[in-house]
């Protein structure tokens, strides 16, 4: 009892540092059926889902899941139906109780919480969005959005004020007096999102929120969610079966199959180094151009001109490297643009002595950041003969990406042709 009290101290006493996991899932199992514990005690626990079902009639929902999710992370649980992803997200909030293992959130063991503790914890920690919206058809949009606050006994005025604000955030201003039934699917899901955000939860749980929407609306909602997350910086746990959605939204992805996590990593790792055939199959139609970033394939610039060098030095440098042009940086390594041999030669032809490369001879070029995905660079490389410079927020030149590099990295590796 004493131990339990210590473990379940309010989260205010245990502030979570940015680098610490906010959600820690340890050895989590879920077996559906009669007397599920017996499956875990016997050697059946090493067997596959099919074998367990055949021998005991129990259905394995989740097998020994271990995950760690950091604060502010957009975390994706991906898999086909029956892979256990929905079971897992429901275990985190204990809509389904795990058979064994623990879920630790903000240092508190959720699996050990008693009924009342759990209710309080849900109220202040979570917001949840559902695939079929889960709205209350007999309440207006405003009352639906305010529902989480009503559960917490927030006074009516404050409740509606907060709900109005979140409805505005999701773009539903003016719809508050309608009933959910008269709204389109996309708008209903916005109500669901507003309801989840009205509580200002630390963790947002989203169970296939966009799967029921048609593709155009889905893409739009994804974009808006990305924008919203930029502002809110919540920890989001997002379930999907759509790889493109996962790659687009996720900071990290856990791929599940038959109740097990088969691979966990960044979108880039998943696409470039699939752990097994299952993941391989999953990602084979994923375009690396949507995943790989400029930062991941850039190389240092081979030839660099410095702004304080004279045109003569610069031209010599270009000639000796058999280059027609090169990037120019200042003494802080900030990119100024590109200088071509013709324009430098022209300066020298005039015969005047020039101390440094004049501004007029430097042409500015489009730049990208390290996080730009390759797909977004296609339009630059078609209009621009130079390699694409990659700069950081201060404008410093970090590296360059050539057209060849781009095409090399988006072409499937050898050996893939058979598969």
């Amino acid at each position: 009892m004493a131990e339990r009290n210590i473990r379940n101290q309010p989260s205010e006493d245990l502030p979570v540092r940015k680098d610490e996991p906010q959600v820690l899932i340890k050895d989590l199992w879920k077996v559906f059926g009669r007397d599920p514990k017996r499956v875990l005690k016997s050697d059946l626990r090493e067997k596959s889902k099919e074998e367990i079902q055949k021998k005991t009639g129990c259905i394995l929902g989740m097998k020994n899941i271990n995950l760690s999710i950091k604060k502010g992370q957009f975390y994706i649980l991906m898999g086909l139906s029956g892979s256990g992803k929905s079971t897992l997200i429901r275990n985190i909030i204990r809509l389904v109780n795990p058979t064994a293992g623990s879920v630790i959130i903000n240092g508190q063991n959720v699996t050990k919480m008693s009924g009342e503790q759990l209710l309080q914890f849900r109220r202040k920690t979570f917001g949840m969005v559902f695939q079929h919206y889960g709205l209350l058809p007999h309440l207006t949009v405003l009352d639906n959005a305010a529902y989480g606050l009503k559960v917490r006994d927030v006074p009516k005025g404050e409740r509606y004020a907060k709900a109005m604000r979140t409805l505005e955030t999701v773009g539903l201003k003016g719809w508050e007096d309608y009933y959910p039934g008269s709204l389109s699917g996309g708008m209903q899901q916005r109500v669901g999102l507003a309801r989840a955000l009205a509580n200002d939860p630390e963790i947002l749980l989203m169970d296939e929120p966009f799967s029921g929407l048609d593709p155009l609306i889905r893409r739009q909602m994804q974009d808006e969610l990305v924008e919203l997350q930029e502002k809110l910086q919540k920890t989001i746990i997002f379930v999907t079966h759509d790889l493109h959605e996962a790659l687009k939204l996720g900071d990290r992805i856990a791929i599940m199959r038959n109740g097990e996590v088969v691979q966990e990593g960044t979108p880039e790792e998943i696409v470039t180094q699939p752990a097994d055939e299952y993941v391989q199959e999953f990602v084979q139609d994923a375009s690396p151009a949507k995943v790989l970033t400029a930062g991941s394939i850039m190389e240092p610039a081979k030839v660099l001109l410095y702004a304080w060098e004279g045109p003569k030095t610069a031209l010599t440098l270009l000639l000796s490297n058999k280059r027609k042009a090169a990037f120019v940086v200042d003494k802080n390594h900030k990119l100024l643009g590109v200088a071509k041999d013709e324009s430098l030669a022209k300066l020298l032809d005039k015969g005047e002595y020039i101390e440094k490369i004049p501004q007029s001879s430097i042409r500015t070029v489009p730049t990208v950041s390290e996080n730009t995905i390759l797909e977004d660079m296609f339009s630059i490389i078609t209009h621009n003969p130079y390699p694409v410079p990659v700069v950081n927020d201060d404008g410093r030149l970090m590296g360059v990406v050539t057209t060849d590099q781009i095409f090399e990295s988006i072409t499937p590796a050898e050996g893939d042709e058979n598969g």
């Binding site: 919206y133 889960g134 989480g148 009503k150 559960v151």
Partner: protein
């Protein structure tokens, strides 16, 4: 024909008789108390319906027909039908029957809805209640008219007791089914926000199950009306007794008038309670 061996003899009838004997001697006060409460309620309803003059009640029903069923034509038809009952000379008896029905429905809902909720919440309760409900509905109603008579004597109370037992299953069943078929995600959403089981019940389950529960209320009311007619056999005054008298005297016309009055009450009550289940 091969006879069933006589040595296999389970004396259920004797056991039940003994049980009844025991109940009657030991729980007499308990049944008296129940009977007293039932009587007070039915008398209150009867007082209201007998107090309301026909020229107020008929327009009220007409208004209900118009507003609830949604067509003004229904209101007119309801009023004409009630006038027909009055013209048969059965107004007072119809009011007594109505009071009996409404009081029975009142008790049925008082028991049935909480039981239905309990049944929806626990699979065990459901598996226990299911066969009991089946028995209550299929057992010939005369079978419990007799014990009702033994517990409460003649009159309205045993008639209502029998009516409640006969009429309560549909509302229990449909409350159970209604709650069990509520959108799972709506319930989960409520739970995810930290709602207590009570909040889930009143915010989500009952409102969303309302159409189904109202169908149950409708069916319970119709069954109560059917049973109240049987109840006249053990002394409940009303239209049923009139039918009974007519049958014993072989007065076909009078029997038909009384029977038609019951049908009219049934139609009006059905349409009005049915309208609740269709509305959102």
């Amino acid at each position: 024909m091969v006879e069933f061996p006589e040595m296999i003899d389970i004396p259920l009838a004797k056991a039940i008789d003994a049980g009844m004997e025991w109940l009657l001697t030991h729980l007499d006060g308990f049944f008296d108390a129940i009977g007293f409460v039932i009587l007070q309620v039915v008398n209150a309803f009867e007082a209201v319906f007998l107090f309301l003059p026909w020229f107020i009640l008929i327009p009220l029903v007409g208004l209900a027909g118009w507003k609830l069923v949604g067509k003004w034509k229904s209101g007119i038809v309801f009023m004409l039908l009630l006038i027909l009952i009055g013209s048969f000379g059965y107004w007072e008896l119809a009011m007594r029957t109505l009071a009996l029905v409404i009081a029975s429905v009142f008790f049925s809902l008082l028991m049935g809805i909480p039981l239905g909720i309990q049944m929806a919440r626990s699979d065990r309760t459901q598996s226990i209640l299911q066969p009991i409900l089946d028995a209550m509905q299929t057992m010939p109603s005369f079978v419990y008219l007799i014990p009702a008579l033994m517990f409460f004597g003649m009159g309205k109370v045993p008639a209502m007791f029998a009516t409640i037992i006969y009429a309560v299953p549909p509302v229990i069943r449909l409350t159970n089914v209604g709650i069990r078929t509520v959108d799972r995600e709506a319930v989960e959403a409520s739970q995810a926000f930290g709602a207590t089981p009570r909040q889930v019940l009143f915010d989500v389950q009952l409102p969303l199950a309302k159409p189904s529960i109202m169908v149950g209320v409708n069916q319970t009311t119709m069954m109560a009306l059917a049973m109240v007619v049987m109840g006249s056999m053990i002394g409940a005054k009303g239209l049923g007794m009139e039918v009974l008298i007519a049958i014993s005297r072989i007065e076909v016309g009078q029997g038909f008038e009384a029977g038609l009055s019951i049908v009219i009450l049934a139609i009006i009550i059905d349409r009005i309670t049915h309208s609740f289940s269709e509305k959102k």
